[in-house]
């Protein structure tokens, strides 16, 4: 594996943002720019997934969905167990766990850019899995928090009404964008879709690079909060992606039988933690948890780790496994 594999725009722009923050540059991004870019990226992935879903094998697709549900429901439980073992209180553990069951679209797209730069083929199903994996993690987080609250007697109708709890998980903004765009990608005729692909497809990697530049800065800002999080949580932020990647590799290889590229993408789904969809959901669902913990872990530790170290490392491991 040559170094040049890592010298791709996605990774370098992320690094640039990270460095800019490190040298205390006065570089500022309009706060709303990242929000606009992530909306664009989610629609772009959704369309891509839908177009591929249109002529995908239903059997395989269902297996991929099932695998996504297993990872989405399973990983948070693993994370929760580890966090409790580390003596973290149950509510913070619930909120953090939810982030690790979900995924980071930015990391996933970096992995795609990484594969494309090396002309490595990959299956399309992981894109579908990405859209599926937001909701289960949120639901598990909600349920874990509910259980943790038991007997504290400060139950609250609104927060804990099961119906609304599920609604919030499925009407999450990111989920709506991913699934909605996916449906549009499925139902619209190719020639009609062609009118919007110059915008959503041709520009995609360029927009991603700009998004990652800003995320690099955001990740850099979080380093100042490491102290607050403490050694145990910071190390969890590095260890959990390794566990998630291992689970992803097992699922992608043994169960779904994907090739090198597809397995890497599933590994990244398992390894990455959400910093866009899940944090606002946890704000409402587990208000008692401290957002500084879960934002610092998912955005400040796990995200840079996956982008700069994890992806090539998982790839290296997969190569050896398949060889």
């Amino acid at each position: 594996m040559e170094v040049s594999n890592l010298l791709i725009p996605a990774v370098l722009f992320f690094a640039l943002g990270f460095v800019a923050q490190g040298v205390k540059s006065d570089l500022k991004f309009p706060p709303d720019l990242a929000k606009a870019l992530s909306i664009y990226l989610l629609i772009g992935i959704g369309l891509k997934g839908g177009i591929e879903l249109a002529h995908a094998d239903l059997g395989h697709a269902l297996h991929a969905v099932a695998a996504a549900l297993v990872l989405g429901f399973g990983l948070p439980l693993v994370a929760y167990a580890i966090l409790l073992a580390g003596r973290l209180d149950k509510l913070n553990a619930s909120a953090i766990a939810a982030h690790y069951g979900s995924v980071s679209a930015g990391t996933f797209l970096t992995a795609i850019a990484y594969l494309e730069a090396q002309q490595i083929e990959f299956e399309s199903y992981p894109v579908i899995m990405l859209a599926i994996m937001e909701s289960p993690a949120i639901i598990v987080g909600l349920l874990l928090a509910r259980i943790s609250r038991r007997g504290r007697g400060d139950e609250d109708a609104r927060e804990n009404h099961m119906g609304e709890l599920l609604r919030d998980a499925f009407t999450n903004g990111s989920v709506i964008l991913l699934l909605g765009a996916m449906v549009i990608g499925v139902v619209v005729e190719p020639e009609s879709l062609a009118t919007i692909t110059p915008f959503y497809k041709v520009l995609f990697m360029g927009v991603l690079s700009l998004f990652l530049l800003e995320m690099g800065m955001e990740a850099g800002k979080r380093i100042a909060e490491f102290g607050r999080a403490g050694v145990f949580l910071i190390s969890f932020g590095v260890a959990m992606p390794l566990i998630g990647a291992a689970a992803g590799i097992a699922v992608g290889h043994a169960w779904l039988g994907f090739g090198e590229g597809g397995v890497l993408l599933v590994a990244v789904l398992g390894a990455s933690a959400s910093y866009i969809a899940v944090p606002p959901a946890m704000r409402l669902a587990v208000p008692e948890a401290n957002p500084s913990y879960y934002l610092t872990l998912s955005l400040g530790v796990t995200f840079p780790f996956n982008v700069l170290v994890g992806i090539p490392f998982y790839h290296y491991a997969i190569r050896h496994l398949l060889a």
């Binding site: 991004f29 706060p31 990242a34 929000k35 509510l91 400060d154 609250d156 927060e159 903004g173 800003e214 955001e218 800002k221 979080r222 100042a224 909060e225 607050r228 910093y275 866009i276 899940v278 944090p279 606002p280 946890m282 704000r283 409402l284 587990v286 208000p287 008692e288 948890a289 401290n290 957002p291 500084s292 879960y294 934002l295 610092t296 955005l299």
Partner: protein
Amino acid sequence: MIPTHRMKLINIVANAALEERLSDIAEAHAASGYTVLDARGAGSAGLQTGVLEGGSNILFMLIVPEAKLDEVLADIEKLMKRGHHLAAFITDTQVLRREKFNA
């Protein structure tokens, strides 16, 4: 001289995800309206850069007649009891046109 009328301005700085909850409170107490501004900052919940939704604040402003102050604060207290991270502070203010703020 233009007549002005004493009222209470309730300010709440909280995560953007709470906007709907707060406007529901304003409605529940039949406030004449409310004002929301996007904000960033830092506090016990950590740094809020305003870049990601999970780290974006709003400043929610609600003007109410003094008679209504306590019932509204009670609802805000409920949010805080539930664990929500927010800063709430009340200021005396003089409004033009009392009737606009239904008092």
